[in-house]
Symmetry: C2
Subunit: 341 residues, 2 copies
């Protein structure tokens, strides 16, 4: 993430070195005596992307204990755990979305079938809990399990509301708070708990992570509509194809007059039904983008995300002393809305 370049070089070097160790802990945890298992697990490791969640753990640890110069092993382990949980959700998400591309490469489901992808996701989540027990903290294990309970609830709420063209903003925010933001909140809270921070600091950090997570998902949804597939590195337009209504669309449907609404719903239904030629599909998506652009719906969603990022930053400034790690976390929040991938 470009934010890495713009900060304190000592912090940056420490984070880089820490992330390398996190990737090693991740890889070591997944080793099996079975070749077929290792082969799949190694494939999953190509999905390491921005590593936002491990960075939240590591930078939070640095921000709450600025006097500690070397990251403790427990924080590295916690960072590997949240990355593993996230990776498991990616693998199962790709099954749910029937996605063919992730991080510039083929998805497991596309390459090896849905069955292998379901099992690989299970293997990852199981090892995440297993690795988590090595921390010897029932509180942390419980918080991670609570976060994954909530992620599943968010996914199920989203699934229930597929093709629901009357979806309102409240439900949309409930979905993304649970499916995405709860884990981001847990990243920061777990890091603070492991550093034995005061409850008010721990709560403030949860709120920061959660708010950043909501903003992150809004931008993810905007990028699914507007992004360049080669830059983003995953199949785009999936939300429309899978009947997922996201913030720009909800805004456009609410703002449109009857005729406009009918046109948009018709386009969404055509895309969701499938079986269109590539050309027709591209033309439909182009028209949807045009409507969203003309109705200022994309800008509306981006502004929502930007205002959430401001709120997340304000909470940090209020509760943490001014350190390079705090500055990093503030920059990380900004990068959530400026990112192009």
């Amino acid at each position: 993430m470009s934010v890495l370049a713009s900060h304190d070089s000592t912090l940056r070097a420490r984070l880089d070195a820490d992330l390398k160790q996190v990737r090693r802990l991740f890889a070591d945890e997944l080793v099996s005596d079975l070749g077929c298992v290792n082969e799949l697990a190694e494939h999953a490791q190509r999905y390491h992307g921005k590593m936002l969640r491990p960075m939240l753990v590591l930078a939070t640890a640095m921000a709450v204990q600025p006097e500690v110069e070397t990251t403790d092993r427990k924080h590295l382990v916690a960072a590997a755990v949240v990355e593993m949980v996230h990776m498991a959700t990616l693998v199962h998400d790709d099954v749910l979305d029937d996605a063919r591309m992730r991080r510039q490469g083929a998805t497991i489901n596309h390459l090896r079938g849905n069955e292998a992808a379901v099992m690989l996701g299970d293997y990852l989540i199981s090892h995440a809990y297993h690795l988590c027990t090595s921390l010897g903290s029932t509180g942390v294990s419980r918080m991670i399990a609570h976060a994954t309970n909530t992620v599943c609830e968010g996914e199920l709420l989203q699934l229930t509301n597929r093709h629901e063209h009357g979806l309102d903003e409240t439900t949309y925010f409930e979905i993304i708070k649970r499916k995405t933001a709860s884990l981001c909140g847990a990243c920061c809270k777990v890091a603070a708990l492991l550093s034995e921070s005061e409850p008010n600091v721990t709560d403030a950090l949860y709120a920061y992570g959660e708010t950043l997570g909501i903003a992150f998902q809004i931008i993810d949804d905007v990028l699914d509509l507007t992004g360049d597939q080669d830059t983003v590195g995953k199949t785009l337009g999936q939300d429309i194809a899978k009947g997922k209504l996201t913030l720009p669309m909800i805004h456009a449907l609410e703002a449109a007059d009857n005729a406009g609404r009918r046109e948009l719903v018709n386009l969404l239904e055509l895309q969701a039904r499938g079986g269109l030629s590539d050309e027709q599909s591209r033309e439909n998506i182009r028209r949807v983008r045009e409507i969203l652009h003309d109705g200022a719906s994309l800008g509306y969603a981006r502004e929502k995300a930007a205002s959430l990022v401001q709120r997340a930053k304000a909470g940090l400034i209020e509760n943490l002393s001014d350190t390079p790690a705090r500055a990093y976390l503030l920059g990380l929040a900004d990068s959530v809305v400026t990112r192009r991938l």
Copy 2:
């Protein structure tokens, strides 16, 4: 399970009452503030079947602490945890197997689609770990996570060996030891650990559970070939349809002459390819059963299971004092091979 009727009535009444509490703990853990989640979770609860795994936990607890007259809450919680883990694997298994029927009713994947089934399985496994943390024992959490790691390895090994007509017995036993027996072993070991049993007793109980689990899976595989669908209550013939080679088939393929082997492989390939009429499919399965029967392959598998049950029982007799609970566990082992569902 009929074994319940044939034993000490005090023990039976206690187990019945305990299982009722286990089902309540199970249901309470899954309650969400979201209606759509509760609806799915309630459907899953129709899948409670023989509750073999909770019974292993409860009866083991009684066997290692015969002086304790009331089951401790921690054992009830552990029993609910292993049932929830098992339920999660059933839900994902049905996705993998494309099964339409389970416990006399429609599967979640058949009723609500693969996507809901994948997420429901994730919700169940997440809550299993969550509930497990309420025991406050890192050792138990770690053992459960280790068991689920192993279950996934078994499933992946099985997946890799689909349609592998040269599958050998060693690999078959490796698959079922991991995918089924590891959780049964963990049930007994967790119960003993929670009762602070001596290591030799804990190990002996793990071995009992694991050996019983292997025998259980062999009989499950035999029933998939020979069972009556209405009695067993789930889609049968799935192993052939999904290209899973099980012990009777491995025996038949190894024992057959060249022509016999060609006929059997041909029948398996026809069934796995799909697209047959119901009549043709029934006729093929009938012929497969005939071959397995003529070659004594079903008997061979049943004998293997019976000899494993004898081994499991001998280990118990050697390591536990003679109590009604031990007698119950011995009977439970016997029932694994005599069962018809």
